[in-house]
């Protein structure tokens, strides 16, 4: 094989490679998934897998990748009026961080995972606190918050969502008489 033959082979192989890349790249897009995101990949409409952080080539004619942000959304539920287990009028406010726990479930169960979850959480909070006795003592707030978090997450798990760092930021109950409170007058 002389130099001309080598030249011809290299030229033809290179040209074929360029042509292949040209037609292949027309169908692929590069998807960038950061570490605070996940990519839910569907192939021909069926769920394939959840992509972690990295760069991926996606053939958009048969693959669909939905990017899901898993960072928390801070939410405040202000002034929820309810009657506790003793039918005492009470008011409570919560602060929590809502995030995606299971990306696949979140995007297949809810059209707007965050906004739709907020409405569900508000309803659940009302029913959870109504089943307990309102306790305004600061020491019991952490315990109550943990119980409420567990109750909420058991419902939200079905939707691929979760709450964390739930905090009771306001609590008042009509069962507590003002005269018995330390510091009043």
């Amino acid at each position: 094989m002389n130099a001309d033959d080598i030249w011809a082979v290299v030229f033809l192989l290179g040209g074929a490679g360029l042509l292949f890349l040209r037609f292949y790249r027309r169908r692929t897009v590069r998807v960038f998934v950061t570490d605070y995101q996940r990519g839910v990949r569907f192939v021909n409409g069926a769920f394939r897998d959840v992509l972690g952080p990295g760069c991926y080539y996606s053939n958009h004619t048969r693959e669909q990748i939905t990017i899901v942000d898993i960072r928390p959304k801070p939410v405040v539920f202000e002034r929820i009026f309810y009657e506790d287990a003793f039918h005492a009028p009470s008011v409570v406010s919560f602060a929590a961080e809502l995030s995606v726990g299971d990306p696949y479930r979140a995007i297949t169960q809810l059209k707007y995972p965050i906004n739709d979850s907020i409405a569900i959480i508000r309803d659940q909070l009302q029913s959870v606190v109504s089943q307990s006795i309102a306790n305004t003592e600061p020491e019991t707030r952490d315990k109550s918050a943990n119980e409420i978090t567990a109750a909420l997450n058991s419902e939200l798990e079905k939707l691929g969502m979760q709450v964390a760092n739930l905090e009771i930021i306001e609590m008042w109950s009509g069962s507590v008489r003002p005269e018995t409170i330390t510091g009043a007058n």
Binding site: G14, R71, P74, R79, A95, E167
Partner: protein
Amino acid sequence: MAMFAIGIWLLFLGVVAVRVYVGKPSYMTLLEYQQGVLYRKGRPVRDLKPGRIRVWAGIEKVIIVDTRAIPVRLEDRAVALVDGMTAFYSLSGSAEVQDAHKAIYSALDFSEVPLFVLQCCSRSVLNRYASNQLVRNERTIVEEIAQQAKLKLEAQGFKLLTFRLTQFEVDLPPDEPDDSPPEPDME
């Protein structure tokens, strides 16, 4: 001559392969009120300060954070006090991003964090006091709210710039539901 042409051709193919699989070098500029984090293949590599940055478009990405002050305003809020009274308050303040890396991971939209923190701190602090305590020690309580908010914001990469209660008054206890039967009409 043929070998030279082969070499040039191979070099050309190499450049094309790098462009396709690695990306092409590009430049971007962060302005003085911006910070950034450089991601390579999805993982954070380093924090970026204002200036010109080279990025391999294809495998690298820069997430830009605006570090200008974020104004916060909350109006006409009510909070139940320990003695059954209700306090009405409004607040205003501002915060800025100090650590872009922490701010990016703090929330889905980091600009919501200052409002969230101030809202939580003000409500939780005011709820711990009785009405007479609030009236006597308003200044101290505002400082307590600001201090609590400052610590929480610093943990998430923010710096509290200003905070004040623009409106503050105490009112009667929240109305209890009226269960008494309605009075009959007198005719």
